[in-house]
Symmetry: none
Subunit: 217 residues, 2 copies
DNA sequence: GATCCCCTAGTGCCCGCGCACTAGGGGATC
DNA sequence: GATCCCCTAGTGCGCGGGCACTAGGGGATC
């Protein structure tokens, strides 16, 4: 059984291009096309395709709103939507993912990537354009291991700082241990020395210290 | 000028498979291979390949450490490393990204994905396996979703607020009980309902909520 | 008067955390 | 080579805190 795909884009040429690429894959079948956002929502709700390719800039209803209607957090039985756009703008990525998109592709991506994205979406996985992914990972690693020295010159080691930041995010010792790939004992060791250095009585005071000193925002 | 690739994997069959796939692409040239982590680091430092494919489980030095040595945050002129592994474990993903990997691939990925990953890495972009991406996005939207509705308008009762503020100052339940002149049980009761309302998992997350919403300075 | 919420209070359970202490490998410094 | 610090890891212990549940008095609303 092939993957049933709906294409939503206001430009005929783009739709045709996508259709040709997708139909060349025997595992994929384009079942319908929409030229504006309203039609996209209507057709998607009627046919319930396995994957919907959604352009952002469309008449009547833009692709992000349409995505929210089809895959948003409040939808009971969300569809899989891959957002496709020309412009690699951070706000678009952000909005698309919050709207429930399970993929974000730039139109300059090659056919291989488009096919991968459709297959991934159909499996419940996600595919994001590499140029977007790199920023996503940056976001992630900054969040996870922002090794910025603290304002008041308390000599925390790099590892201790990792633990402090995790605590300040409300993580448990077990979670920290998994995230940093060290044992529970080691987490406790670091935490104990941090606690002594900061003269904190418990982990909450450590978290407060981190917030007070603007290690987090 | 083709993309120069180093393959690091202890299994000969895997290396051969990768080499065949990569060499089929005229834009890619496999310049060397390593069968353990130490050799990977040595060869990578000598030849400085555009992209290194790095297995995690390897003799002598595991791929994560090797990646850290080649692309870690402390390295002056980091190389591009794509981590490749059999096991889709969260800790591996975290560790790989923190070690500076600009890609994370599962070995069950198809050849298309491997090629895309190498091309992306060479361009300074990033490619992550779809099954991993889906979890990465979940993290992202959770983080973002926790930020977007900065709801100070959660209906906390006066007494609950007292307790929250005390917690946000690092007080223990016993101290709160004494300060507010109520029993320990009552403190726990209030705290339990606060916890439910804020969807917090522990008192630290309650304290974080208070600071994030500027209930304290 | 009935209903609802808030504040108060309790019991039992047990897991996570903090405390004290030890310890070895590795890198940097003297 | 000796010393120091960092990161790692472990054991044992005990308390604080989170979880589930019940419950009664009082004020406000319907």
């Amino acid at each position: 059984m092939p993957i049933r795909v709906l294409i939503a884009d206001d430009q005929t040429l783009v739709r045709t291009g996508f259709r040709l690429i997708l139909n060349a894959d025997p595992g994929i079948e384009v079942i319908s096309e929409a030229a504006d956002g309203e039609a996209a929502v209507r057709l998607a709700q009627r046919y319930r395709p396995d994957v919907t390719l959604m352009d952002i800039r469309m008449p009547k209803l833009d692709g992000l709103r349409a995505t929210e209607l089809l895959a948003g957090p409040t939808v009971v039985d969300p569809l899989r939507v891959v957002v496709v756009t020309t412009y690699d703008v951070d706000e678009n990525v952000y909005a698309a993912l919050l709207a429930g998109a399970c993929g974000f592709l730039l139109k300059d991506a090659g056919p291989r990537l488009l096919l991968e994205a459709v297959h991934a979406a159909a499996k419940g996985e996600s595919m994001v354009s590499p140029s977007v992914t790199v920023r996503l990972l940056k976001h992630f690693t900054e969040d996870a291991g922002a090794r910025t020295p603290p304002r008041p010159d308390i000599p925390l080691t790099a590892r201790e700082l990792d633990v402090v930041l995790a605590v300040a995010r409300g993580r448990t010792n077990a979670e920290i241990s998994a995230a940093l790939r060290i044992s529970l004992s080691t987490v406790k060791s670091h935490l104990a020395s941090v606690q002594a250095k900061l003269e904190a009585r418990n982990r909450t005071e450590i978290a407060i210290w981190a917030w007070r000193n603007r290690l987090l925002t």
